[in-house]
Amino acid sequence: MANEVCFRTLEYLKQPWELEEYKSRGGYEVLTHILKNKVGPSEVVETMKASGLRGRGGAGFPTGLKWSFISRNAPGQKYVVCNSDEGEPGTFKDRDILRYNPHQLIEGMVIAGYAIGATVGYNYIRGEFWEEYERFEAALEQARAAGFLGDNLLGSGFDFQLHSHLGGGAYVCGEETALLESIEGKKGQPRFKPPFPAHFGLYGRPTIINNTESLSSVPVILKEGGEWFKELGVENSGGSKLFSISGNINNPGVFEVPLGTPFSELFELVGGMKDGRKLKAVIPGGCSSPVIPGEQMMDLTMDYDAIQKAGSMLGSGAIVIIDDQQCMVKMLDRMSYFYHEESCGQCTPCREGTGWLWRVVNRIENGKGRQEDLDLLESVCGKIAGRTVCALGDAAAMPVRGMLKYFQEEFQYHIDHKRCMVGAGPTKGLG
């Protein structure tokens, strides 16, 4: 596919993770140019702003703007942190970047460091990604040996050290401040904000933290120009984006397409539904984004505004495609269990509320639901959303609300008949 950004090396190279191969596709040229010509850091930030790149970690915050919050000339250490904790169910794109294109991430991080005046970076890789971590470590070695990392890069006087930090199995560490706490050797409990990491980040120092895909996009944006990138996408959604597409489909995988691409095209790309089943619903942006019925999805384009207008979120671009054999109550049961298990436990609404949500959904799933439970779920969601320290609370409430919005009849059926209305059949409840 043309105009790829994070995957530009993939189809053309045998071992795109090797330094030499990466260089053969123009790798590290941008960094070299910046360092040799002493390109102004503010120019780098301006280009990033112009690109319209919105954070690919899920929140969609403009990357250039985030970088501009750091006062480059303030004395003292600053940090660049990459979020490779990829844990939102349905998301598996950063893993591919780490596996197949680690040098582009390294290059992006060094440039980010240059832009904000940071000399140290950490890549926080989820602990389960051991093979990806080893791949990334090997790339770091190569980059160090080639002078792209370390002291006085290419004689420019700019130093940049980059390390990986391995997680230990906690979804919440994907939340940026929990991630910082985790690097600091603590439990991954999110910090309240303000202050934001740009002012009080890692070790209390100014820090930018971006998703793997966001940082990997940097070299290409600087090479081709902010405008170029922006033009790839649509209004308010610049660039191309990686979509992790999974579910009951023939050809799951990670696809890089321009933002604004119709969902129906992606649906083609993944070869449609498996076993000739029918498309029932789509989770468009990771587990926490509210579900959208299949037919409505077919009319949507994959960009921030369109998905938001449909009442959901583009999030991390993790699309889970669900067929008509799946029970939405069981799905929600599993999702709610996830948030309940992964709640860090520090703030009351999330610690207590996620467990409550799951227990009620689980009861309905098991044929013990009561009529008032549907209102209760809605009300508990309302008491979690917007009141927690980090967005995990919101993430737990959103799928519940989404399911109740479009698939309430399945829940009602479970309550009324103590069994399931779809093919997946009556579950545990009847026993």
Binding site: Q346, T348, E352, G353, G355, W356, R359, G386, R387
Partner: protein
């Protein structure tokens, strides 16, 4: 940031505040109540309970007041539908897993959760799932836990990290499985651990000693002052049916803030000890008999008179500096009224060579709060963390904000802040101080000049001298073990010369709750009330023992436990004709040597005044009736004065006594000046195995020695012989062996513990513990024999 204030509006009221202040601090100051659980003004903000949510104009979500900084023009409603809805929502969440076992909860009636629930809860629970139950954990004899009630505010965890300086409690597990505790079965041992009881907003952490003793609303609260160390922490004493049921801190920002050491909190248990003396007792024909007051008093008076006769010098009065100002004043008045100058409160001092040139009213010389703004401190002979925990807490704050703190000590101490420790045998401690004196070019004369000249100046000595010199606000503090040091006078003069040379101040950390008051009251052989030098100097504590007198008057002191050298005082008392003891306890140690025991009121049973380390006079009332027939000591002394026909014993109240003393000493301030630049020869030596005898924190006075819960903590270790591994090897002894310690011909059998805190050449044997009450001085040469 500028000093300009911003204006905000809260519930329609206009408030001014510094920009960036957290909203909850602004509303608290204005008396606007926002419910909260995790927020605590003395702890870092964690913003996790989400109870303090309020509505801020133009913000679509409710914001937590505890972590929302104010800015100009902010409009806040704390009770709008959005705010109340959010607060009630949080309350509902907090209650779903709470056991709601209020009727059997010790926190009942003073529970923040209960209080807030009344305002924000709803009566019907919509939660129909099983509630979370957390297994019980035993964390020691002081704190009862019921973590099922925990609401995860983490105040206790933050307290450990931020205030106590040791992380003992933690929150392990994740999400709903997160529980507070020690994770492994382990007791909480910090000297300030009890504060988590106050911090815990629910009944998850409660006081074990007072558990189930009373419901909060049955208690009467009184103000008082803690009776152990020289901080004079302000306390609330809670009583019921004429008994002290518990003690809580009373906020006083300039003294103890809101904190209390465990000793001050739990020692009240000693009041109700079984060996309280409740009836006067006299020894007749070698047998102890309970008698009426009149008879006892007459017995005492006759005894004193016949023993001392007309020779005042035959009367020796030894008083505990935990006595009140009024008691100490009357005791010296009585002694001097009998023509004796022999009165002393310095029972744990052995070197009195400086008397006359000593500091008239030794004390901190700065305020307790002022310790926080020190930028350098050298502590000599002090285990401040155990001995005066609140002072250590202030020092810790100073150290955390950059103060350089060093210690010259005979033992390594466990500290909760960054400091350098110079540890050596007692004799070398003097050298170490001399070395700093030399590095600081301190001016000394005579013997000390020689000592300093001979001292080696190491790099570390230079750096300490430099730290003191470059400090704007530095002190050299002498602690409990300096005062007990055989070369105290040398330490004082050296310290004062260093202070002068480095432009810092000399400071004393007095040991007991009224050490400063004892100087003001004149309970000294060479100084009368207001610390004025007397014409005819009496015998000091040491002389009163080494040259036995015929009559002794003891107040609040137990021979085996409160004296520098128990064997010495015992032998002196054994030789005496008459020993009159004013005591709250019937102790073995007194019964074996006294002739009359007069029961006196204990802590909280009498009115009086204590003067703390910084010189603050703090008076308190008697709160419960003295047990049995015990009487306040000031009254006993007054009657004794009358019976002895001494003038000026007609006060009607302790206030009268106080007024009388005030007429002398109200204006007398702490005065740490030292009027000499030399001192005598070194007493301590490097020859032989040298004993270091500290006073363990829970052995420091008669009350705490009887506080049963404190005695069950890990900090109340039984007596032992402690040696470094090196020393044990060269002394050819092994861990867990039982050894016989021989000191000045006195023997004691004690187990050996290898302890890396002891310097080579020394042996650490704490004093004031059962097992050491027959040994010699706190410092001195001992030999070890196999049992």
């Amino acid at each position: 940031m500028t000093d300009e204030l911003v204006t905000i509006e809260v519930d329609g009221r206009e408030l001014k505040a510094k920009p960036g202040t957290m909203l909850i601090d602004v509303t608290d100051a204005a008396g606007i109540n926002i419910p909260r659980f995790c927020y605590h003004k003395k702890l870092s903000v964690s913003a996790n309970c989400r109870m303090c949510l309020v509505e801020v104009e133009k913000v679509p979500k409710p914001l937590p007041a505890c972590c929302t900084p104010v800015n100009e023009g902010m409009k806040v409603s704390t009770r709008s539908p959005m705010a109340l809805g959010a607060q009630k929502g949080t309350m509902e969440f907090l209650l779903i897993n709470h056991p709601l076992d209020c009727p059997i909860c010790d926190q009942g009636g003073e529970c923040e959760l209960q209080d807030v629930a009344v305002g924000y809860g709803s009566d019907v629970s919509r939660y129909s799932e099983a509630k979370r139950v957390v297994p019980q954990r035993d964390i020691g004899p002081l704190i009862a836990t019921d973590f099922t009630r925990c609401i995860h505010c983490t105040r206790c965890v933050r307290f450990g990290a931020e205030i106590a300086g040791v992380r003992e409690l933690g929150a392990t597990g994740r999400g709903e499985h997160m529980t507070i505790g020690t994770f492994v079965e382990k007791s909480v041992d910090s000297e300030m651990s009890g504060n988590v009881i106050d911090l815990c907003p629910v009944g998850s952490l409660t006081a074990k000693p007072s558990r189930y003793k009373a419901r909060a609303w049955e208690l009467t609260q009184h103000d008082s002052v803690a009776p152990h160390d020289s901080v004079g922490s302000n306390i609330h004493v809670h009583t019921r049916n004429n008994r002290v049921v518990r003690v809580h801190p009373k906020e006083n920002e300039s003294i103890n803030e809101i904190w209390l050491s465990d000793r001050d909190r739990f020692s009240y248990e000693g009041l109700n000890s079984e060996d309280r003396l409740t009836q006067p007792m006299v020894r007749k024909n070698g047998e102890w008999q309970e008698v009426e007051w009149q008879e006892a008093l007459e017995f005492a008076v006759k005894g004193l008179q016949s023993a001392a006769g007309s020779d005042g010098d035959q009367l020796a009065t030894l008083v505990s500096a935990n006595s009140t100002l009024e008691e100490l004043y009357l005791a010296q008045k009585l002694t001097r009224g009998m023509d004796s100058g022999n009165i002393d409160h310095r029972l744990r001092q052995s070197d009195f060579r400086l008397d006359g040139n000593d500091s008239p009213v030794p004390g901190l010389g700065i305020t307790i709060q002022g310790i926080e703004s020190l930028d350098a401190a050298l502590l000599v002979g002090s285990n401040v963390r155990k001995e005066q925990p609140i002072i250590a807490h202030r020092l810790r704050k100073a150290a955390k904000s950059g103060a350089k703190v060093s210690f010259i000590n005979p033992l390594w101490i466990d500290l909760h802040f960054e400091a350098d420790q110079f540890v050596s045998t007692p004799a070398v401690m003097v050298d170490n101080l001399a070395s700093i004196a030399k590095a600081a070019s301190a001016k000394l004369t005579g013997n000390l000049a020689k000592l300093v000249k001979a001292a080696e100046v190491s790099e570390t000595a230079k750096s300490v001298a430099e730290q003191l010199k470059s400090a704007n606000n530095g002190v050299i503090m002498l602690g409990n073990q300096a005062a007990a040091h055989p070369d105290y006078s040398l330490l004082v003069v050296l310290a004062s010369a260093i202070a002068e040379a480095t432009n810092t101040s000399l400071s004393y950390i007095p040991a007991l709750s009224n050490s400063v008051g004892a100087a003001l009251a004149g309970a000294l052989p060479h100084r009368g009330p207001a610390a004025s030098l007397v014409e005819k100097c009496g015998a000091n504590a040491q002389m009163m023992q080494s040259k036995p007198r015929k009559a002794y008057l003891l107040m609040g002191a137990e021979p085996g436990f409160d004296f520098w050298d128990p064997s010495l005082i015992n032998s002196a008392l054994d030789q005496a004709e008459c020993v009159v003891a004013l005591t709250a306890y019937h102790s073995e140690s007194l019964a074996s040597c006294a002739d009359v025991m007069l029961p006196i009121a204990g802590f909280a049973e009498t009115s009086g005044t204590l003067v703390n380390a910084e010189g603050t006079w703090q008076s308190f009332n008697g709160l419960v009736k003295p047990q049995g027939d015990a009487r306040p000591a000031w009254k006993v002394l007054r009657v004794l004065g009358n019976l002895l026909d001494i003038d000026g014993f007609d006060q009607n109240s302790s206030d009268d006594v106080l007024e009388e003393l005030k007429s002398h000493a109200a204006e007398t301030a702490i005065d740490n000046s030292v009027s000499t630049k030399t001192a005598g020869e070194l007493n301590s030596s490097t020859e032989g195995l040298y004993r270091i005898g500290d006073v363990p924190m829970y052995a420091s006075d008669a009350l705490v020695r009887r506080a049963s819960s404190l005695q069950r903590t890990n900090s109340a270790e039984p007596a032992a012989v402690r040696l470094s591994a090196n020393q044990a090897k060269s002394s050819d002894v092994e861990e867990e062996e039982t050894l016989v310690v021989v000191q000045d011909g006195n023997r004691a059998q004690l187990p050996l513990i290898i302890d890396p805190r002891v310097p080579d050449g020394a042996v650490w044997i704490s004093s004031a513990l059962p097992g050491t009450e027959k040994l010699g001085g706190q410092f001195g040469v001992v030999t070890l024999e196999k049992a």
